[in-house]
């Protein structure tokens, strides 16, 4: 079960990457402080995968692909919702910090 959306940004993939991959960058557009974000893959500046969840709700997986486009960068996001208990996720990522 997943959704896919995309947009084009008049900026370099590196600028988009900064806004996606750092907490400071995300504060400028995400604005959802209730959600926990755990980064799984950070392959700068093109591929970022995080898991996130709110409270006790099941976590979902968010994957961003950032690729060069004629006017700047294309950003494709896919959010997938498997049911992953938060505790299991926390254990799986216990050695990773956001």
């Amino acid at each position: 079960m997943s959704v896919r959306r995309e947009t084009e940004v008049e900026a370099t993939p590196e600028d988009v990457w900064d806004a996606l991959s750092t907490e400071e960058g995300r504060d400028r557009w995400l604005g959802e402080p209730g959600r926990e974000v755990v980064v799984e893959v950070a392959d700068a500046p093109h591929r970022l995968v995080w898991w996130w969840w709110e409270g006790d709700a099941p976590a979902t997986r968010v994957e961003f692909l950032v690729v060069p486009a004629p006017g700047g960068a294309r950003v494709v996001v896919t959010e997938t919702a498997p049911e992953v208990p938060v505790a299991r996720l926390a254990a799986a990522f216990s050695s990773v910090c956001v």
Binding site: A11, D18, R28, L30, P58
Partner: protein, 109 residues
């Protein structure tokens, strides 16, 4: 995300179960024996997948003569998943719009 939605999404996270739901969407009803003939898995595995779909509230038993238990999709059962998709799509449209504006405006001084 409600428990009910979590159960539906969890049940549909498995590709075999998604295929089983597709069989039900096209055939209307199915049973353990008929699915066992269509999937390269054991009868026990088929029964377990059906039980998972049933636990998620996706199935109902069809009253029919004979010994074979047949199943169909419960009307409206897929609605929570469809709602999640619509909500997630609309949320990402908003977020990507804000991301685009934030990046194009550049970082604050």
């Amino acid at each position: 995300m409600s428990d009910r939605l979590g159960a539906v999404l969890g049940a549909l996270a498995d590709p075999t179960r998604r295929e089983m739901v597709e069989v039900l969407l096209s055939d209307g009803t199915t049973s353990v024996p008929s699915l066992t003939g269509r999937f390269p898995i054991t009868r026990q595995a088929v029964a377990k997948h059906l039980a998972t779909l049933d636990d998620a509230g996706l199935l109902e038993r069809v009253d029919a003569p004979g010994r074979e238990v047949r199943w169909r999709l419960r009307p409206g059962a897929l609605a929570p998943a469809a709602d999640w998709v619509r909500t997630a799509e609309s949320a990402w449209d908003g977020r990507l719009g804000r991301l685009k504006r934030a990046v194009e405006e550049g970082p604050p001084d």
